[in-house]
């Protein structure tokens, strides 16, 4: 090997070494800044899944009227296509259900079915709360519909389409978007608003005697959209009575009802949360004396 | 002449004696004989309450708070009462028990009874006939001293011996 070749080889070797070193030091590479670890918002709510996925349609959505009455035995594939343009998911499938009434849904106040549903749905949600288990799709399907049968509607392979749809036709005229349901946080906010409005009247209630402050009374309230009471509040439960204070129970019941009636009608409550599940059309108030 | 002189002498002697025997009202009466101590005033009948009260150390003994014990001072007083009671064995007496106001009404009735009986028992143990002794409790109803202080209360905690005649 002559001198020129040696020099050339040497330069090449040095260059390779330099290049190798530079590369290994990463001087030529563009370092992508590592994305910061994403902070995951953890909300300590025991039913995280429910609100996010299957909204509990306790007020069944308004029946979307089919243009024509169909035979209940019709294949569900057809209704699936028809339902797509519907704005409200999941659209009820009248064909899969018993034939809907030809007349428009009777103009019942939308909260009427909701009144019954909370009683029926109360127990299952409590069970869910105590188990704190992530609800399965099947459970969501069952409770979301307000029925617990999970009756597989006709449609076989398209059974998922029926999720959230009850076996009975909905008589509701609710136009509220089903996604605008009352989250736990929204419910707390509304409860806080209502409590602030009735607090002055609560403060005026007179304690009948020693020990009465141990009694708590639950009253059931139904309101119109304008915040006025429908009928009289009804006492639906109480606790904290014993031999020493049971004589004061009736008076605490009076106080609870008076607290609400004297600060009626309620004002400035959001209309869009009126007749949603947990809406302020129908709720309970728990009252007790301080001490 | 000698017989006239004799008659005159006899008459004079008779006159002298008769005038000497005549009731002559003295200018002042000699003092009436009575008890030597009393200068003046009504007499104290022996065996009476007044007689008792001036003969003994005291007709009253005192007690400590909530107590009915006969302390040494009370013993001396009761002993002096025993002396007099022996002298007058048929005179009935009553023993009154009293309390101070710093107790409840019914309890004080019972405590006054205790005090009266304590005094009675002491006298009986020294030979006084129990049949002549009655007891009565006044609780806190008849205080002697009216203040609301220790000195007044001490005076009111007492048993009083009353001669009944």
């Amino acid at each position: 090997m002559d001198r020129a070749e040696k020099a050339g080889l040497g330069i090449a070797v040095v260059g390779h070494v330099l290049l190798f070193g530079a590369l290994s030091l990463g001087l030529f590479s563009h370092k992508q800044p590592e994305p910061p670890p994403r902070s995951i918002e953890v909300s300590l709510v025991d039913k995280v899944g429910l609100e996010a996925t299957a909204p509990q349609s306790l007020t069944p959505p308004a029946q979307s009227k089919a243009p024509e009455l169909g035979n209940p035995e019709d294949a569900p594939a057809k209704p699936a296509e028809e339902s797509e343009p519907e704005p409200t998911p999941p659209a009820p499938q009248p064909k899969a259900a018993p034939p809907p009434k030809p007349a428009p849904a009777p103009p019942k106040p939308p909260e009427k079915p909701a009144v019954k549903k909370p009683d029926a749905a109360k127990a299952p949600p409590t069970r869910e709360a105590t188990t704190a288990a992530k609800p399965t799709r099947a459970e969501a399907q069952a409770t979301g519909a307000g029925t617990r049968q999970g009756k597989t509607p006709r449609g076989g392979a398209l059974g998922d389409i029926m999720r959230g749809i009850g076996a009975q036709p909905s008589k509701s005229t609710s136009q509220a978007p089903q996604a605008a349901t009352m989250s736990a946080q929204a419910a707390m906010d509304i409860a806080s608003k209502i409590q602030q409005q009735v607090q002055p009247c609560a403060n005026q209630q007179v304690k009948p005697g020693p020990g009465a402050e141990r009694i708590r009374v639950v009253i059931h309230l139904k309101l119109r959209r304008d915040g006025t009471l429908i009928g009289n509040p009804e006492v639906v439960g109480y606790d904290g009575t014993d031999d020493d204070n049971s004589r004061y129970l009736d008076r605490v019941k009076d106080n609870a009802i008076a607290t609400f009636k004297h600060c009626s009608p309620l004002r400035d409550l959001p209309q869009e949360l009126y007749d949603v599940p947990r809406g302020w059309s129908d709720f309970k108030m728990r009252y007790k004396l301080p001490g | 002449m000698a017989r006239l002189t004799n008659m005159l002498l006899v008459a004079a002697a008779l006159a002298a004696t008769t005038t000497g025997c005549a009731k002559k009202h003295p200018a002042e009466l000699p003092p009436v004989a009575g008890p030597a101590q009393e200068p003046s005033g009504p007499s104290i009948r022996p065996g009476s309450r007044a007689d008792f009260e001036r003969s003994v150390l005291s007709n009253t003994i005192h007690f400590a708070l909530d107590k009915y014990d006969i302390d040494p001072q009370s013993q001396r007083i009761l002993d002096s009462q025993v002396q007099w009671l022996r002298q007058w064995p048929n005179v009935p007496i009553s023993l009154e028990g009293h309390c101070d106001e710093r107790g409840t009404r019914e309890y004080n009735l019972a405590l006054g009874d205790r005090r009266a009986n304590a005094a009675k028992n002491y006298l009986v143990a020294r030979g006084v006939n129990p049949g002549r002794i009655s007891t009565i409790s006044y609780g806190k109803e008849r205080p002697l001293a009216l203040g609301s202080d220790e000195a007044s209360w001490a005076q009111n905690r007492r048993a009083v011996t009353i001669v009944l005649n």
Partner: protein, 475 residues
């Protein structure tokens, strides 16, 4: 586990909720978050975790109230037609009746009646068509209206109506027909109707009190038996003061008064017959007997007798008979009082060295001490509703106190130099006692206080007084 953390936090919040809520009492409310309280439901309704809203429903928690006396208005009671009666003219009676109701409710300490110019006269038709707007606007929620009518036969009819002006509704009504001599009782019955409806307590205004009226110097008090309505009206002396009288008690059947007298220098218990005005010796024993109390069925008299310096509790039939001894401790046992069912007796004894409270069966068995606090305890009385025993607590001062029948929860209701001898109202809510002042010119007077410690007040009597005994509710 993270899922339990919200419950823990909310429970801590719940602990502070009563404090925050108490701060809101009767004051202008500050906006606060809902105040949850630790739930312990007994009615089967579901209990969401505090601070949480359960799925499917919204719950609003509200804590609020005041212990201040309730506002109430009692206008004069009109009459349709002014008529003269043996008790007076009906329009005057109507004004007086409203005052009786007003004073009863005010003196209970639980009500604040409107007075003065705001309390205007009402017309007869307005009695059943109340001016809700006016009273609700004035912030007076409770309204009592009534009327007076003279019946043809000499009796009077008094109508009594209670309204809720905020709810615009009638709460209750009652009518009373009374002979003219008892016209004031109609007012007390009306007050009782209002009181029971608005508090839940039993009635007590239509009742009487016997006590010892006192006069004269401290060293030689004149003491006379007296009886009066609980509001001080219809006062009557029953003895003339020549003998000391002590501790009178009304029998539950309201026919007799048992008391102790020094008549003939022989302190003993007598039974005074209210109907005939005559009295008889109850216990034909020369021993000192005192501290009488009648059993709830009016058949027995509990009393104390001192024999040779030892005092025990006995009982004897009210009609007379052989006394039966119930205690035999060497100490002083006195002051017995029956439980409302007549099955047990509370009394005081110094067998432990100081006066303390004991409970035993009505036959004298199972005597157990129940007082263990500092100081000593005396004059126990069992509440007519059975839940408490009141007494004189002596620890420096003499104070009126209450404790449960097993001796728990004792507390003093008064705090003065010498408060003594409590007696319960028929509903077990108010205590009457006597308070003595110090010194040579000291006197004793009747006072009363509510169980909660409010409404401490002096009872007006013509002279001074002691040893009050509250009789039962009149039928």
């Amino acid at each position: 586990m993270t899922l339990f953390r919200p419950m823990l936090i909310a429970a801590l919040l719940a602990g502070t909720a009563p404090l925050a809520a108490a701060a809101q009492q009767a004051a202008s409310p500050a906006p606060v978050a809902p105040q949850p309280s630790a739930p312990a439901p007994q009615t089967g309704s579901p209990t969401p975790a505090p601070g949480q809203q359960p799925p499917g429903e919204m719950i609003v928690d509200v804590v609020g109230g005041t212990s201040a006396p309730a506002q109430i208005a009692i206008p004069p009671m009109p009459t349709a037609e002014v008529q003269q009666t043996a008790a007076g003219s009906t329009d005057v009676l109507g004004r007086e009746l409203a005052l009786i109701v007003t004073n009863d409710l005010k003196n209970s300490g639980l009500f604040n009646p409107v007075s003065g110019e705001a309390l205007h006269n009402i017309s007869y038709p307005e009695v059943t068509s109340p001016g809700f707007e006016y009273w609700a606007g004035a912030g007076v929620q409770a309204l009592v209206q009534g009327f007076v009518r003279a019946n043809g036969d000499g009796t009077l009819t008094v109508g009594c109506y209670l309204y809720d002006t905020y709810a615009r509704s009638e709460l209750t009504r009652q009518g009373f027909v009374v002979p003219p001599s008892d016209w004031r009782r109609a007012g007390h019955k009306c007050a009782d109707m209002v009181y029971t409806r608005l508090t839940g307590e039993g009635p007590y205004f239509d009742s009487r009190v016997v006590y010892v009226s006192e006069s004269g110097p401290k060293g030689h008090r004149i003491k006379r038996l007296a009886i009066m309505d609980q509001d001080g009206a219809n006062h009557r002396f029953l003895t003339n003061g020549q003998s000391i009288v002590l501790t009178p008690r009304l029998s539950p059947d309201q026919r007799s008064i048992v008391y102790m007298s020094y008549l003939n220098d022989r302190p003993s218990i007598y039974v005074y017959d209210i109907g005939t005005g005559r009295q008889r010796l109850l216990v034909p024993d020369t021993n000192l007997n005192f501290a009488p109390r009648v059993s709830p069925d009016s058949r027995w008299v509990l009393f104390s007798m001192a024999v040779a310096g030892n005092t025990d509790v006995y009982r004897v039939p009210l009609a007379g008979g052989t006394p039966q001894r119930l205690t035999d401790a060497p100490g002083i046992d006195t002051g017995g009082s029956y439980s409302p069912d007549g099955g047990r007796i509370v009394f005081e004894s110094d067998r432990s060295g100081s006066q303390q409270l004991y409970v035993m069966n009505a036959d004298g068995t199972q005597q157990q001490r129940i007082s263990f606090g500092g100081g000593s305890y005396a004059t126990p009385v069992w509440s007519p509703r059975g839940d408490l025993i009141a007494y004189t607590h002596m620890q420096g001062n003499f104070r009126i106190g209450v404790m449960s029948p097993v001796g728990a929860g004792e507390r003093n209701l008064t705090d003065d130099w010498q408060d003594e001898g409590p007696s319960w109202s028929p509903n077990g809510r108010v205590l009457m006692f006597f308070r003595a002042t110090q010194g040579g010119s000291g006197v004793a007077d009747l006072w009363s206080v509510d169980l909660t410690g409010v409404a401490l007040r002096r009872i007006p009597t013509p002279l001074d007084g002691s040893d009050p005994s509250w009789g039962p509710l009149r039928p």
